[in-house]
Symmetry: C2
Subunit: 208 residues, 2 copies
């Protein structure tokens, strides 16, 4: 299914259905794409006004980075569903002989690794845009300050929701060293995202 081509109405119905995908990982990537879009809008509303010329140099590259992240997040929304479908397919492999059981177990572990790595990339992309949000809220067009705040809120929710999916899929990854490394990165990203959300909101509240 190509989520970005679906109407929003059909997309939310696909999320609502009792099919295992699309689920929280896809919703995280879509929320991140919306947050990145709002950051682009704030940048565009700043760069369009001569009045904010002093901020153009700082704000233009933020808008460009947000646009790149938006495109990646749209692809990750899709990839998240595909990678979880592969976990479900691996679980359905036959397990009648020792050989089948070994192969099935190997395939489940491998599918879980991919299904943990995809939301980790979602979390990294959303966190990457979020890094710019305190500066965007401070230097951007003040009439769009609430939009910068909304962007930070959606991006932080995207990071944390993606990280829940990293956590749940990591529990099925047999490589404990890799799992420990990813858990460490997840903790760092989650902590940093919370901090950036609060910093952005403090700036936004001071400007509206």
């Amino acid at each position: 299914m190509n989520f970005e081509k679906l109407s929003f109405e059909k997309l939310v119905l696909a999320l609502a259905s009792d099919a295992p995908t699309p689920g929280g990982g896809t919703a995280a990537a879509l929320a991140g794409a919306m947050g990145a879009s709002l950051a682009e809008m704030v940048a565009a509303l700043t760069v369009a006004k001569e009045k904010y010329a002093a901020s153009h140099g700082a704000v233009r590259p933020i808008g460009e980075a947000a646009a790149r992240a938006r495109e990646k997040l749209l692809r990750l929304a899709e990839e998240d569903a595909t990678s979880y479908d592969a976990v479900v397919a691996a679980r359905r492999l036959p397990k009648d002989t020792d050989g089948e059981r070994t192969e099935r177990s190997r395939r489940i572990g491998e599918a879980n690794r991919v299904a943990a790595e995809v939301p980790m990339r979602t979390a990294r992309e959303a966190a990457g845009v979020l890094t710019f949000l305190p500066e965007l809220a401070e230097k951007g067009n003040p009439n769009a300050a609430s939009d910068a705040g909304a962007a930070a809120l959606l991006l932080e929710a995207a990071v944390q929701a993606a990280l829940l999916n990293v956590g749940i899929n990591l529990s099925g990854v047999p490589d404990t060293e890799l799992a420990a490394r990813m858990t460490e990165e997840a903790d760092r990203l989650g902590h940093e995202a919370g901090r950036l959300r609060e910093r952005t909101l403090a700036t936004v509240r001071a400007r509206i």
Copy 2:
């Protein structure tokens, strides 16, 4: 523009553009609709399994409430853009004579009141679903625990992003008594949403 009929790809491009709408208020309602959909999915994945029969009675009405909220939030996404367009239109009214200035000022105040009330309804709808999330995370299908967490994250972001739009538009509402009442409700909803997010996430983390 009928946002729910647009493809997701076009929707995020509309958010990203330098047109004043759709903006943060619309994105808040859409994020809320996605959060409500995930809550529906968790309810559906619980009600579909005999194994969780003890939870069916509690979970079924949560899924139904989430479905109603999803539909309302899709309409509010649209209404948010329309109400802010009315503020922009009122600001463009002529202001050459005293009579025109009085009329323009009255129309701007009225448009701002509506543009503050619409995101307040968005915040109420999203907060209403969020109220059920700690119970859904606790009694729902544990395989969908991360989806319940993602739902809570998106709903809380929707509440807070909508409230930023309430705040920015209330600053243009001349009825100070109404503005004070709405500010009080906004503070309460924002505080409660933060608390419900953390309660849900604590339950989710204990289950995954």
